[in-house]
């Protein structure tokens, strides 16, 4: 089993069992790129992705958009929610930090696959910051949605590395969802099986929060 460094060090926590041809080609090309220059190897990377993993970049960009929304939501919430304190403030701080790390890792992963990371979307969270209660209610919506978004996209992922990192992130989203639900006095989960949502369903659910 290979222990070589991944293109995105954040993803190095994933113990990858077996390597796909695509990832092997990408890693080889990236290694060559450090010697011969990125311009030389870019076509080979693109080719590898076109053959087997083009969809993974799209999925990662979809995930990145959601993580941007979440990270921005908590960042703005921490600044703007009046009377935010205690457990809620502490949790929002942890969640903001986690989501920011997800943004960073996904950005690196997309670059590692030769893709272009999507830009942070414009946001409009309406009256979600009007009170701690409203803030936590919207937070629960985001985290439950995040879980279902990753679970729905994961089966479409080609690369084992990408699947591993999506799994490492979705577990954190689920932990966030449970913690927020605890503060909202809601059950830990709606069901013994978390829902998987299609990309279109997720995008239409976040549409009210995206501006422009």
């Amino acid at each position: 089993m290979s222990n070589e460094k991944l293109a995105a060090p954040e993803l190095g926590v994933i113990d990858v069992q077996g390597m796909t041809r695509q990832s092997f080609m990408i890693k080889g090309a990236l290694a060559a790129g450090t010697v011969y220059g990125v311009a030389t190897v870019a076509p080979f990377v693109s080719e590898a992705i076109a053959q087997e993993g083009g969809g993974d970049v799209d999925i990662l960009n979809f995930a990145l958009t959601l993580e941007y929304l979440e990270a921005t939501f908590y960042e703005m919430g921490l600044k703007n929610v009046k009377g935010l304190g205690g457990d809620a403030k502490e949790l929002a701080t942890t969640l903001q930090e986690n989501e920011a790390e997800h943004v960073k890792a996904l950005t690196e992963a997309i670059k590692g696959l030769g893709g272009t990371p999507t830009k942070a979307p414009g946001v409009d969270f309406a009256d979600a910051f009007s009170s701690q209660k409203a803030f936590l209610k919207t937070a629960q919506t985001f985290e439950d949605l995040g879980v279902s978004a990753y679970n729905g996209a994961a089966t479409q992922i080609k690369s084992k590395e990408v699947l591993g990192s999506a799994g490492a992130i979705v577990q954190i989203e689920a932990r966030h969802a449970a913690a927020i639900r605890g503060l909202n006095k809601q059950p830990i989960t709606e069901s013994a099986f978390d829902k998987a949502l299609e990309m279109e369903e997720v995008l239409s659910a976040v549409k009210p929060f995206v501006k422009g």
């Binding site: 926590v13 790390e101 591993g164 490492a168 992130i169 954190i172 099986f193």
Partner: protein
């Protein structure tokens, strides 16, 4: 996935675990496949724990499976998950029956989690059967934990749920069938929810690994659940 050609013509596909329990040579081959002697040592615990139950249920002819080589790997992973879910369900059943948790709200949480785990057992049992296998059920014991009192029980629950979540994450990349992967993922995040809620109860961080959850392999998980399996 169509490019999987891994195949062991002489290994049984229908009731792999059952076959392993009585056939020494196929057991060795399986354990070798599982990745070495530490896994081998760990997995024999499961076989010992499941042996008696298997004997009782093995009167009928094993069903033939139409699954290919890739399904065999998935079957083993689903059996492993089923064993962990049985362990969790048995644990919460024993805890609830013992009445060790006096706090009403916490007892309700334990019951809600138990119900989730029972649903996981039911779903995975069906999946094993669909893949042509005989569902495994370990013999478990939680006396030592329950004797330790409510705090010990809650801490153990948190440990088991965090381990369960890590165990699912550790298998995700090895699953071949999209249907099995989807099922595993939908359970994985519920285990993670349990883990976070119980971590909160016992005063631990909801995200012990930080922003990225760490996976655990079978070799890492099996020794940790050994104390709960009857030899």
């Amino acid at each position: 996935m169509s490019d999987v050609t891994e195949r062991e013509a002489d290994a049984p596909r229908d009731s792999a675990m059952h076959e392993l329990a009585r056939d020494d040579s196929s057991r060795k081959r399986f354990l070798k496949m599982m990745g070495g002697t530490s896994a081998a040592a760990a997995f024999t615990i499961f076989l010992a724990a499941c042996g008696e139950d298997e004997k009782k249920k093995s009167s009928g002819e094993p069903k033939q499976s139409s699954g290919g080589g890739s399904m065999k790997g998935d079957l083993e992973i689903v059996q492993y998950a089923l064993t962990l879910e049985h362990l969790e369900t048995d644990f919460y059943d024993a805890v609830i029956k013992s009445g060790v948790i006096k706090d009403k709200a916490l007892a309700e949480v334990a019951t809600a989690i138990r119900d989730n785990e029972q649903e996981h057992v039911d779903a995975l049992t069906k999946t094993v059967e669909q893949l042509g296998g005989k569902p495994m059920k370990p013999e478990t014991t939680f006396d030592a934990v329950i004797k330790g009192g409510a705090q010990k029980v809650l801490e153990t629950a948190a440990t088991v749920e965090n381990l369960g979540a890590a165990a699912y994450l550790g298998q995700a990349g090895r699953i071949k069938s999209k249907e099995v992967l989807a099922a595993a993922l939908s359970i994985h995040t519920v285990e993670a929810r349990h883990a976070a809620a119980l971590n909160k109860v016992v005063g631990k961080t909801i995200v012990p690994d930080g922003a990225f959850a760490k996976p655990a392999s079978m070799e890492e998980v099996l020794p940790l659940v050994k104390p709960f399996l009857k030899a």
